[in-house]
Symmetry: C2
Subunit: 310 residues, 2 copies
């Protein structure tokens, strides 16, 4: 077996994603020593108790000391300040990455903060659950999921090797890696992740606020489709607040398209244009088939959620 990809890594922010990286890096042997820092003393104590890291530091500079890879994994709005807090401890030749759902503004901030000699390679694993915190992570979260890296423009001859090494780290944890321009990343994710979350939060909010239908009825009869939205709308509120603030332009652009299409659908319903409805409803089935064919989804009815009832 080859040695670890990095002799020492530091993970700053140890929630669902951070703690999954810590667990996966150890389980897959892609990191030698693993240090963790989190702003919250409670999270640090919990991580120490879980015993998933080699070092739980109470200071970010100390956490990143000697690390070959530093992964910033706090909520997106706190990534820049986490970088600032640890910058003094970053060693020359180290790679600095993050896991945020928005890449443009974060990449810009990291480039400005990182000391010379540190390779900034922003990243984003497209994986997660509706749970949060250090207990929610698991080593297999990234299996068969895509991690997008958005390398920066640079003349540094050593930079491409740093990008390749980070890709190797992710692949070692079971992920598939794609390189992408950061602006394009933010547009793609606005479609495949940010808008779906916005819509889910919105529909659950709308349903909760109705006068004619009680909250109890909404929850009781949710198996007709609504319950799926409640899962997404149970995701971490702080992380998602940050995503929408940071990716404002792309989200509003995609939202405008969504709203335009929804108005056309609304009109088709008002005028009883069944053929238009059926045409759209048939077309969307194809996309589902593609998602399953690309290995991004379970092919089981209802995600196998009825399995236990059989």
């Amino acid at each position: 077996m080859a040695g670890p990809v990095y002799d020492r890594i530091a993970v700053l922010g140890c929630g669902l994603i951070g703690s999954s990286i810590v667990r996966a890096a150890r389980a897959h042997g892609v990191a030698g020593q693993i240090a963790v820092f989190d702003l919250s003393p409670e999270v640090r104590a919990r991580v120490a108790k879980l015993g998933i890291a080699d070092v739980v530091a109470s200071d970010p500079v100390q956490a990143v000391g000697g690390a070959d890879l530093v992964v910033l994994a706090p909520p997106p709005g706190a990534i820049a300040s986490a970088a600032e807090a640890c910058a003094a401890g970053l060693k020359p030749g180290a790679t600095l990455t993050d896991v945020g759902s928005v890449k443009g503004p974060v990449a810009q901030a990291l480039a400005a903060i990182a000391p010379p000699g540190v390779f900034v390679v922003p990243g984003h694993p497209i994986a997660g659950t509706e749970f949060s915190g250090p207990d929610a992570g698991f080593a297999e979260l990234f299996h068969d999921r895509w991690t997008i890296l958005t390398p920066q423009q640079t003349d540094d001859a050593a930079y491409p090797a740093a990008v390749r090494r980070l890709a190797e780290f992710w692949e070692g944890m079971g992920a598939k890696v794609e390189l992408m321009d950061e602006r394009h990343h933010d547009l793609v994710l606005a479609v495949t992740s940010h808008l779906p979350h916005l819509i889910a939060y919105n529909i659950v909010g709308t349903a909760a606020d109705l006068e004619e239908v009680t909250q109890n009825e909404v929850m009781k009869y949710s198996a007709g489709g609504f319950r799926d939205f409640t899962r997404i709308a149970a995701s971490d509120p702080v992380m998602w607040r940050d995503v929408f603030v940071l990716n404002k332009e792309a989200v509003l652009e995609i939202l405008a398209r969504f709203t335009e299409d929804l108005q056309a659908l609304s009109r088709a319903i008002r005028w009883g244009e069944g053929d238009k409805l059926e045409e759209l409803f048939s077309r969307t089935r194809e996309i589902r088939r593609g998602v399953i064919a690309l290995g991004q989804e379970s092919a089981e009815p209802n995600w196998g959620r009825d399995r236990d009832r059989k």
Copy 2:
């Protein structure tokens, strides 16, 4: 063990719901003999091959002959014509029910079509998967799911007993039964089922039509939330066309509320009002907890869909 609730039942329309009723009725012993009719010769042949019914009739009048319960389970837009097609064979004292997602117009049509002496008790089991057809059904589909019955206004002294018997039939298949006014049913379901489907179909359509992001990218990076919507948007196109045409008023009313709320969210994003976003995103978590507490949803992260990867 008590005998069956009905000595003979007939199920007209044998797709996901119809074939699940056939399987469940047999598995739970709530029906003596089970006859099936479907407009499609292919479906009839398939049902005969599956061997899930006692009789596969090629004529609706023949199918309902002697039946104590007739369940109409074609797409919602075809329920009235299915009732017309079998009306001549309905025996006095039989109960006529359906399983459609919209109750108002269907209830009205059934009341007009049913011969005197037949008890019309419209119904709706809130259960399903994204699959369609006779092979998609299974006997446990209704376990712990609600079936709503919408009894009609009548002076017939024997009617309440017919409603109770139908409730017993559903309970025998593992369902929980609730009685509801048909107009209220259509409003509640517009919220918990019809709008979620409309939104899911719409977002998948929007994503498929973008110029800047390819369909392949949409499918590849769908694990960030989008893939959940593709499951709902893979539901039966004909059934859903009928739902929106039949429940137009309630759907447009709820859609207007949804759109209003979405515009407020859009404005909060445009003005960077993070606190407003976080407030909504925190509130929606409560609804998720309620859905799980009411037994309508799996509490496992990602519905246990990652289970097989662990």
